[in-house]
């Protein structure tokens, strides 16, 4: 981490309102860091999906559990951590939402969207025993051509880091 690195963290309640709160906080940081409108949309959506995942699947909507959100802003990228207090999960066992048999599923697209919208994405065992999503987006000024002005249709899901 460089001298310019910044770190923010917050503990969120397991409730629907936490999704908007997390999105708003991350959007403020992303805008201040210089991300354009399209990248902010992608970051905001990914944070929403990460927190929804923690709220619904990780913590199973149990109010006594917490969601831990952390942001690291380095000279190169914005890194987002979303940690739940669930049992963890195996990313390899998450069904492909683009498979024909899953197209009409009413859930299961959050991981796909985070992979599509962020530059790096992985899920690791967290210190709480739950799952920790770690995802990042390169800053526009660090040589990343950026995705502003491009449509989501060209965004292929990224491999795990």
């Amino acid at each position: 981490m460089t001298q310019d690195a910044k770190h923010l963290e917050m503990t969120l309640e397991t409730q629907v309102e936490s999704v908007n709160l997390a999105e708003e906080m991350c959007l403020r940081v992303a805008e201040a860091a210089g991300f354009g409108e399209d990248d902010c949309y992608r970051i905001g959506m990914s944070v929403r999906e990460g927190v929804i995942n923690a709220f619904h699947y990780g913590n199973e909507e149990r109010p006594e559990k917490k969601i831990h959100l952390a942001l690291d802003l380095t000279s190169e990228k914005m890194i987002i951590h979303v940690l739940d207090e669930g049992k963890g999960f195996d990313l390899g066992r998450v069904p492909d939402p683009l498979a024909q048999e899953n197209l009409l599923s009413t859930s299961g697209r959050g991981i796909f969207l985070m992979r599509a919208f962020m530059d790096e994405f992985q899920v690791v065992p967290g210190r709480t025993g739950g799952a920790e999503i770690i995802m990042s987006k390169r800053l526009p000024r660090s040589g990343n051509p950026g995705t502003n002005g491009k449509t989501g249709q060209g965004a292929a899901p990224k491999k795990e880091a």
Partner: protein, 114 residues
């Protein structure tokens, strides 16, 4: 912005004008409630006008799919009208363009139900 939904009849089709964000919580719940009410009134030709919907998350996508299958299971048809760019791109990314019938002209959309 909270979701809002009103509906009107046009050429035998119920056009639902929706505005705001279809996201986890109230947005998804309102869409679910609206479609459920329409089905209870035996309205099974439904056109969702999403012209003023600028944001949908995975919960909102799930709700759209649920509405689509719910109407289909009742022998009806649910189609989409006037997608904003973000919603268009999201449906394309998730391959739901291959599921939904999507229109950019209301007249053509209404005629497609005949």
């Amino acid at each position: 912005m909270a979701l809002r939904a009103t509906y009107r009849e046009a050429a035998g089709v119920t056009v639902v004008d929706i505005g705001g964000r279809i996201t986890l919580g109230e947005g998804s719940a309102l869409l679910r409630k609206t479609v459920r009410e329409l089905l209870e009134e035996q309205r099974t030709s439904i056109l969702l006008n999403l012209a003023d919907v600028d944001y949908i998350d995975s919960s909102g996508i799930g709700e759209l799919v649920s509405a689509y299958t719910g109407v289909k299971n009742r022998g009806g048809n649910l189609k989409l009208l006037h997608l904003t760019k973000k919603v268009h791109d999201l449906l394309q990314l998730t391959k739901l363009f291959t599921v939904f019938e999507v229109y950019s002209d209301e007249g053509i959309a209404l005629r497609s139900y005949r």
